[in-house]
Amino acid sequence: MMVKKQMKMQMPVVKTILVTNRSVMNISRKLSAWIGMYALLVLLALYLASCSVTSHAPLARNASDTPASHTMTLSDHEFAPVNFVPRPGDTITIRNRSDISHSIYVTYPDGTMVNLGVQTPGTTVHWQVPADATGEFVLQCWIHPIIRANLLVNVANMSPSAAKSVLPKFTRQEILDGRQNICSSRNRRA
């Protein structure tokens, strides 16, 4: 009789323990789900952060990168088509393959003009893209106004924080037009 009573008395305790265990399991499951979600968010954030930094690599010059050298060719009254994308710090060599003399000058985006001097047939002159270059640089000939080449220099040497402050916003249409690679597109436009 006593045992029965004890059992009757223990039943709510067991029930309480069982209920408590179930609650703990539910909480644990919910916690796991939240942790999982949080981990996913962290991973996503890490991915986006890496995207904003590492995807600059093809366009931005790392400190260890050496400036590139490019060559432009002058025929009689024109530049041969340019097949490179100049970057800050690069050196551009202009070869005069024509039979006449030229005198090339570069107009910077702020209006500054830099003369590269007189270039007789068969000679070369050099121009270094400024380290802080951004925008359109126009190469023309004093002697032959018809000669002209426009070089677009895209700067990608800003720190991520600096880059972040100037990141442009993209419209849906821009993305649909092929700017899905937001990291590189932003970089090119910066």
Binding site: M113, W142, I143, P145
Partner: protein
């Protein structure tokens, strides 16, 4: 024995001919274009050219009413004036010879110093220059609005009879674009007619293009025989030319002037931007050794020597670029 000598001579001539041909630039470089270029902002139409022709010959475009564009760009003078310096230029410092307006549709830089980049922009300059037509465009528009006879011409050209500065300059530019040199014997030679120019002129073409001879082609290139570019050719003139339009440190542009075309030259001159030379022999003499050897002198001008025969050949070649006078009927003036 005689046969062997004959074979030897013929072989030598063939080799010489091959070498001669190999040194020449391809004739295609001098081929005339098939059509006249015009800017999208001012398409060439017969109606605009007709209006422009009337304006070009109308002396009422000058303040005094006594000078038209055609006064100095006369059809009878190869669309120039045949003068050393223009009318009314006495006392004007650094006055320059009147250039022809022939083939101006192809120009990318106008005036001797290139200060106008289109025919439309250039059309304003003689009208408003004090020693030329000495007028102002607002007054000119007002004067033309009073001439009833211009209304139908403007209507045909632009759709209504409104007269304004832009329409005047567009019409003048359109007319000038229609002034194209007649085909010259040289053009027929370029097209394959071997008999079109003399053997002397052919030899002169070699002298003209040879880097070790006159090398005129360094600047007088293309079918118009100009590079539309700027060079100091070493004349004693103090006129800075293009140098006054560019930064002073661009030494090469000091005393530099636009290369004139060699087509349809008046045989007696005057030549050069200051009209200082008459006769092609005088010009050749200057280039041979008399150019002022100053720092701004074109690097493409080097002293050279020519024999009497080569000089005659060169002149014969330049004369083969003459397609004859381009005559047109002067229009009736609207009243």
């Amino acid at each position: 024995m005689l046969f062997r000598h004959l074979v030897l001579i013929v072989s030598t001539l063939m080799v010489a001919n091959t070498a001669w041909s190999a040194n020449l630039p391809p004739r295609e470089k001098f081929k005339r274009p098939d059509s006249i270029p015009a800017p999208l902002s001012n398409p060439l139409t017969l109606e605009k050219a007709t209006l422009g022709k009337t304006l070009f010959f109308d002396q009422r475009l000058s303040r005094s009413g006594g000078m038209a564009c055609a006064t100095c760009h006369s059809p009878d003078q190869r669309w120039s004036d045949g003068r050393t310096l223009p009318l009314q230029a006495e006392g004007v410092s650094n006055a320059r010879r009147t250039p022809t307006v022939l083939n101006s549709a192809w120009l990318s830089a106008l005036m001797w110093d290139g200060r106008a980049s289109t025919l439309e922009a250039q059309a304003v300059l003689p009208i408003t220059t004090a020693h030329e037509m000495n007028f102002d465009l607002a007054s000119l528009v007002g004067r033309l609005q009073q001439i009833e006879g211009y209304r139908p011409l403007f209507t045909q050209a632009f759709g209504d009879d409104s007269i304004n500065q832009q329409r005047i300059t567009q019409a003048l530019a359109s007319f000038q674009r229609t002034l194209v040199s007649n085909p010259a014997p040289f053009d027929r030679w370029v097209d394959g007619d071997e008999q079109a120019i003399s053997e002397q002129a052919k030899r002169g073409f070699v002298v003209f293009t040879d880097k070790n001879k006159a090398n005129c082609i360094a600047c007088h290139s293309s079918w118009r025989f100009t590079d539309d570019s700027f060079h100091d050719i070493g004349l004693p003139s103090k006129d800075l030319g293009r140098g006054a339009k560019v930064p002073a440190q661009v030494t090469l542009m000091q005393h530099a002037f636009k290369t004139p075309s060699l087509r349809d030259l008046s045989i007696a001159g005057p030549y050069m931007h200051d009209g200082s030379m008459r006769g092609l022999k005088t010009v050749i003499k200057h280039y041979k050794s008399e150019a002022n050897q100053r720092e701004s002198l074109s690097k493409d001008i080097q002293k050279f020597e020519l024999t009497e025969l080569e000089e005659s050949d060169l002149i014969a070649f330049i004369q083969s670029l003459d397609g004859g006078a381009l005559h047109i009927q002067a229009p009736a003036m609207p009243q």
